[in-house]
Amino acid sequence: MALPLRYNVRNILVRWRTTLAAILSVALVVCGYLMMQGIPAGLQKSSANTGDPRNVMIVRKGSTAESSSQVTRAQFRLIPYLPEVAKDPQGRPLVSADTLVLISLPRRDAHGEANVSLRGISPTGMQLRPQAALVDGQDRNGKITASRWFVPGKREIVVSRRLAGRFAHFDIGDTFKTSGQELTVVGWMDAENSAFDSEIWMDSDEVRSIFDREHYSSVLVRIADGASIESFTNRIENDKRLPLRANREVQYYESQTQTAGFFQIMGNFLARMMSFGAMFATMNTMYAVVGARVREIGTLRVLGYRRRTILASFVVEGAFLSLIGGVLGGVLALLLNLIDLSFGTMGFESFSEVVVRFRVTPLLLGKGLFFAIVIGILGSLLPAIRAARLPVIAALKSV
């Protein structure tokens, strides 16, 4: 017969002084694990959230990234007239010729510089990217200021709200010089945690002229409702005049997983190392728990409970103890999740600053709790074996 769970639960609560440290250390490890995995989760979310299923991205054949792609103006001119291309209410084709440039800018905290992705887009470019919307920003004095889109043909930029917090000269109304030209910040945008949150936007032809670029980097096309994406990509693929390749935009961003992969591996390694500390704490606590209950264990044995029941009972107690810790850690991480924490570093794909929001997903929470239970079971196994092996008579005699 198994011992009732209530027995273990009450034991933990009664001896909270002994168990508190173990619970807290598991909580810290689980919270640490969630925070560390919150970064790759944010990066994954950002790749998954970028792009519109109706959009197709065109790059040069043979290039895997936008950064190594070139689309000439002659090639670009053919694209808007292809039959599958959607049109906006004014009848303009929904096509954006993008020019991607990296510029090095000083950080807000004056700690050096970092690369920022500057994307030149056509005037229809924002319609193709509905995630990105203007939000109210701040001017240099911290006053809330309304944003507006850049005027095509002018040297104006709209910066992501998340980048604005990290770089100097990104307040509305600020100007800065790059490539000998002065750019003015006219707005902040929020792109719903997508990859566009790590970009600044301006008029594509202005970008080409300022940075002396003959060609565009890529072309983004909205496919009309009812038209087939496959027939469009095939058309591009087979057109002899166009040495280009078309892919679903969503697919392009989904394949950018290198940065996330790095942080995932790093976080897993660190969390595993940290869990040793929590495991030792659980082990110590459980040994103390067993030690303090030697007579009780003897009594249980006399009452007819079997060794393996005792063993199971203590393992369950250890697992429960660290589950409490796990829940506590999860709650702590969720609280941190509520405040809008962002993390920025150099992305391996874009070679520029990538900013993401920490994300504690339900899947991560589940993994964290599982992690806690594993710590508890491993930590309580040896003490439980000791409890199960106690000789009955000696146990009863012990003080």
Binding site: A22, S68, M273, A278, A281
Partner: protein
Amino acid sequence: MTTATFILKNALRNKRRATLSVLSVAVSLFLVVTLMVGLREFTVPPEDIGASLRVVVRSKISIANFLPARQRQIIERIPGVSVVSPFTWFGGRFKNEESLTFAQFAMDPKQLRPLFGEVHMSDAEYEAFENEANPTACIVGKLTADKYKLKLGDRITLESILFSTPVELKIVGIYSGTIDDRNMFFRQDYLDRTTGNEGWVGTWWVKVRSAADMQQVIQSIDRAFANSSAEVRAETERAFQLSFVSMLGDVTLYVKVTCGVVIFTLILVTASTTSMAIRERFRELAVLKALGYRRRELFAFILAESFGLALFGALVGIGGAYLLYTFTPIVSRATDGLVLGFEVTPRIMGFAALVAAGIGIIASVGPALVVSRVSVVDGLKTLD
């Protein structure tokens, strides 16, 4: 029995607990040392021998922007400049590797020897590389050659993440002697022809005549292209290296916060272990009090015990990290050759030891306070 043996006996009377607390200190400090060494390797990269005389010139817009090849003559004429070579990162992927595992640079082979005196290669290899009859010639560092079992005469094709056309190269030399013997060098003029990117280079690497010329050369180069269509930023090789650190962004914070959480958890665990050990011995301590031991002596007993265990753990953890990282290639193997140096410096070891000492002290404060407050009678009355 001396006081010392008394403390030692006490510390080891529950051997299991002593072992566990030593181990938890050891594992945690091992992790702290690993994190700090990793952070240091990223933020304070090792300096190459000839670096003190080298200047790197990049586009002022960003390192990803090309510079016009015509700038070379202008830089060469600046007083104090002795060598100038283009230096263009190719961003090539080797065979089926998913990521970039070593860097390739296109440069002027004739300038290799004067620019990087520390490159060790036979004269025959130098000649083969400098010979214009070998347009596809390249040289690779020994580490990369060993890793991919490359030998002289091998042909390799590299696809670039930056340029549209792949390059096909033939290995004519394998070098060693630099701080990072992984890189590959090939001809800039070959890159120009293959990719059709003629007239553009990634960066200029410049050698100055003497350290005294350094500042003046840097200023002259910056000034020479000010208000031109391709403004530049010239900086020492060291400053150039360190400019990548700022791009890491919040990674530094990430590592520091992780260290903080590890240390905090450790304090918690150690403090609770110590108080567990003391609680068991409440009666004994009361007896000692009754025998005439004073509070501060009891406190010293507790402190010495917790301090000793923490320091022993530190010895195991820090010493283990030192031995592991100094005498085995574990890091380079685990990261597949990405991280070469992993030096456990005395400073980092000292910091970790201080943390251990601090933990030993903090952990003893709580139990010591309880013991000193309790009267002899109450202490004797306690049951386990």
